[in-house]
């Protein structure tokens, strides 16, 4: 199949895309002068896939919580031992992560890139699960779960999701619980593997100062024997109501000061690709406009000692769901919420300031440029946007073109008290 070339003149970057006969997508971005090479092999399969129909079957398969992450751990195991040794010999760092929508295997190297690339593809495509090695992993992941249980930032984030979502699996911990993973068997793992690690559900993204043709020919040759599934994966998601579960969720941990997270649940989901991108950009501009360091609200909260420099905001916009979050440490999270909501009401009547909008836009343009310094950032961001149907090269153009009116509309639609939750982790 032919290679597609995409060029971005502002970024002065290029990207090459190719789809192989078995459905695997290969994307390469050259980075001249970079010492590091970075590759990700990713599947569009994360912790949100808790129910699905296996191609060729009729019934719905339900899997234990935390299985996508468990699978990620287990793929590193080969009959002859752990794959880590082989990457170590090459001096490269191999790693993996699982989030709500994807599982990504990656390495960074400064030498012998092509050998590393083959190793990456081969190990992800050769599952080896035994009763014994599955059992052994439960102890390790159990400690990983416990580590997160002691992490107040993680808890305050997840509790916020639990307060927002009734049924959507984003409320389930990515790693599951000690209890849920205890039920995982090697058969479950193979089921998930065979369904979601089909080449047509996966991409290979490579960035670095390497040869494009060689990258493609290595992957192509490697994939010749790997066939595509005939049937489409059917993912089953519950219908999530617009309303939130509870407006306040609170938990106590051994911390010095309360941590909080204020979240706004999106209801405007299931949009076309360019609408998702515009929503993403508009929301991020709004978050900076309303809650960024130059905003009136930030200044007054900061000067009253209600927030400190841990106060941050972010927007997550997936195809099926989305939310804005702002949070940090505060002596009085409830007071912060009160002021946030009052401020939103005030802006709803006085309106947003267009000059501020222009300034924030140029800020975000500069920030976006700086992200392209990092091959890790390019690779991980590319993957997460790609699975939503967006190419990150389109981001900058859309950011430059976004209009004040779009942002105003988004403001009124998104920041509503009835879809706002407050998650607090308070000291014991």
């Amino acid at each position: 199949m032919t290679m597609q070339t995409i060029e971005n003149k502002v970024l002065k970057e290029k990207m090459f895309l190719k789809e192989l006969p078995n459905g695997l997508k290969v994307i390469f971005m050259p980075k001249e002068g970079y010492t590091k090479q970075y590759a990700i092999f990713a599947t569009n399969y994360g912790s949100n896939e808790s129910q699905f129909i296996i191609p060729g079957e009729k019934d719905i398969t339900k899997v234990p919580d935390g299985i996508a992450h468990f699978l990620e751990h287990k793929l590193f195991e080969e009959p002859e031992g752990s794959i880590f040794d082989k990457f170590s010999e090459l001096g490269s760092n191999v790693n993996a992560y699982t989030n709500f929508t994807s599982t990504c295997y990656l390495f960074s190297s400064t030498d012998r890139f092509y050998e590393n690339l083959e190793l990456l593809i081969n190990f992800v495509q050769s599952p080896y699960f035994t009763d014994e090695n599955v059992e052994k992993e439960k102890g390790i992941i159990g400690q990983e779960i416990k580590m997160y249980e002691d992490n107040p930032n993680w808890k305050v984030f997840f509790n916020g999701l639990k307060a927002m979502y009734h049924d959507y699996p984003v409320k389930i911990d990515i790693a599951g619980t000690v209890e849920s993973i205890s039920k995982i068997t090697k058969e479950d793992l193979y089921k998930c593997y065979n369904t979601f690690y089909d080449p047509s559900n996966m991409i290979v993204f490579v960035v670095g100062d390497v040869d494009c043709d060689k990258v493609c020919s290595i992957v192509e040759k490697n994939q010749k024997k790997k066939e595509k599934l005939e049937n489409k994966i059917e993912r089953i998601y519950p219908v999530e109501p617009d309303r939130i579960v509870q407006s306040i969720i609170e938990e106590k941990l051994d911390v010095s000061i309360p941590l909080f997270n204020i979240a706004f649940k999106d209801i405007d989901n299931d949009l076309s690709v360019d609408k998702i991108l515009r929503k993403d950009i508009a929301t991020k501009i709004l978050l900076d406009l309303l809650f960024g360091k130059s905003s009136d609200l930030y200044t007054s909260l900061y000067e009253e000692g209600l927030i400190n420099d841990t106060f941050e905001n972010e927007y997550t916009g997936e195809v099926e769901y989305g939310y804005s979050m702002l949070g940090g440490e505060s002596k009085n999270p409830k007071k912060v919420l009160e002021k946030v909501l009052a401020y939103i009401e005030e802006i709803k009547s006085t309106g947003l300031n267009e000059a501020d909008f222009e300034r924030i836009k140029s800020k975000q343009i500069g920030e976006h440029l700086s992200y392209y310094n990092s091959v890790e950032f390019i690779a991980t961001t590319f993957v997460s946007y790609y699975f939503k149907g967006i190419n990150i090269f389109d981001y900058l153009k859309a950011l430059k073109e976004i209009e004040f009116e779009t942002v105003q509309k988004r403001f009124h639609a998104h920041f509503c008290e009835e879809r706002c939750v407050l998650s607090i982790i308070s000291p014991k």
Partner: protein, 426 residues
């Protein structure tokens, strides 16, 4: 292309390090003030790093400053304190979009003006820093000091060092302590500021795409320091032979125990044994190919994370792991056993090769991140080390097994620190 120029002495104790490369979208300017790590001033240095960005003469509030930075294509301005051995470093960092990528021709010059404002031209009310700013930041700093315990992994790691080095300046937490913080006033902080800007050795690192002559001119023109009597910071004492193992346990209401072991290596970074020591630590607990990972995590399923690392300036080796509370004895004896094996030479040429490759990869990888490049050359400068990256790599390559075993012999356990659950009886 990456080109590192010979450091330029702008003034007697102000050095400019230029690292020229066209691969980034941004330019970076880092300014470092070197202070001794000392109880009398560590808290003040931390507070200073927080008060200065609150206002400058021409940007009298954080809001005004933020607006200026946003308008300059989201220029990033950061200020922070760290410790490098027993040096307390006050640093300012500004990252700006390179003109090539935006419709503006003077981003760097404008950014340097702001950076200079924040460092050298603070907002002064009645002869000192503004009281409100100082008081607000005192409160924020107190929250930060008290907030140490929120990150259990880092807390346990820091506490182990604190206990081990309790009679040495290295035990000091870079953000200081509450008691000293209480006594700081706007006046005393301003007096300290005057002292810092006049008496500290200063280094400036610029990383990016520019003409070297122009950048030198720009730095000299825009950054107006006021250095007078400069006080050099001394090399720390590093030789310690612990007479007995110091065991410290602390309670917290947590789900996972944090075990940390602190060792004295007695190997200065200037010594030819330093590279063998780095390899020792890497083979022991540097990554997924290490003895710790293979034996304690994979074989025994005892933990998710376990590591060993070397503290360069203070010659320490630090081990950390997250474990079940009841596995304390087992974990400690397994860690000791791995080290015994290392000392006996129970590791292969492949292990050495893998460790060398992994270290070389990290050295090379630094060149792809602007601030890591700046920090690397700064660290070289304060270590009086003129090795290039290639020389460093060469030194790692040349290490032999006997040297690694030799390095292991001088490593002595000093402190075991365990963060465990409240009321848990072991």
């Amino acid at each position: 292309m990456l080109k590192r120029l010979k450091p330029i002495a702008i003034e007697k104790q102000i050095k400019l390090h230029i690292i020229k490369t066209d691969k980034f979208k941004t330019n970076l300017v880092s300014v470092y003030f070197q202070r001794p790590l000392a109880k009398e001033e560590v808290t003040k240095n931390a507070l200073l790093s927080m008060v200065l960005p609150r206002g400058a003469k021409n940007y009298t509030s954080s809001k005004a400053l933020s607006k200026a930075l946003e308008g300059l294509y989201g220029a990033f301005l950061g200020s922070d304190v760290t410790k490098k051995g027993e040096r307390n470093i006050l640093q300012f960092r500004m990252q700006l979009a390179n003109d090539k990528y935006v419709e503006d021709e003077n981003v760097l010059a404008k950014g340097m003006e702001i950076l200079n404002e924040v460092i050298n031209n603070p907002y002064i009310v009645e002869g000192s820093f503004k009281d409100d700013y100082v008081n607000q930041e005192k409160e924020n700093l107190a929250e930060r000091i008290e907030g140490r315990k929120n990150d259990k992994m880092k807390y346990a790691f820091d506490r182990c060092i604190e206990e081990m080095c309790r009679n040495e300046p290295f035990s000091l937490y870079p953000y200081g302590n509450i008691d000293d913080l209480k006594n700081i006033t706007s006046t005393s902080l301003y007096a300290h500021y005057k002292n810092v800007i006049t008496s500290s050795p200063i280094d400036i690192c610029v990383v990016g795409d520019f003409d070297e002559k122009e950048i030198e001119k720009l730095v000299t023109e825009k950054l107006k320091f006021n250095q007078k009597e400069v006080i050099a910071v001394k090399r720390e004492k590093i030789e310690y032979i612990p007479d007995e193992i110091n065991v410290v346990e602390e309670n917290m209401d947590i789900n996972q125990g944090k075990l940390n072991l602190g060792y004295r290596t007695n190997i200065p970074f200037e010594s030819a044994m330093y590279q063998p020591l780095v390899l020792y630590s890497n083979i022991l607990g540097g990554g997924p190919n290490s003895k710790f990972f293979k034996n304690i995590r994979e074989k025994e399923s005892l933990c998710y994370y376990i590591f060993s690392r070397v503290e360069k300036f203070k010659s320490l080796l630090l081990v950390g792991a997250g474990i079940e509370f009841e596995n304390y004895d087992k974990a400690v004896s397994l860690i000791k056993a791995q080290m015994m094996d290392m000392n006996k030479g129970d590791f292969s040429e492949e292990d050495i090769e893998s460790a060398k490759n992994s270290i070389i990869t990290s050295i090379r990888s630094m060149t792809d991140t602007p601030h890591m490049l700046a920090d690397f050359y700064y660290t070289q400068a304060i270590s009086n080390n003129e090795d290039t990256l290639e020389t460093m790599i060469e030194k790692i390559r040349n290490v032999e097994k006997t040297q690694i075993i030799e390095a292991g012999k001088s490593i002595k356990l000093d402190t075991i620190y365990f963060l465990k659950k409240k009321e848990e009886v072991r």
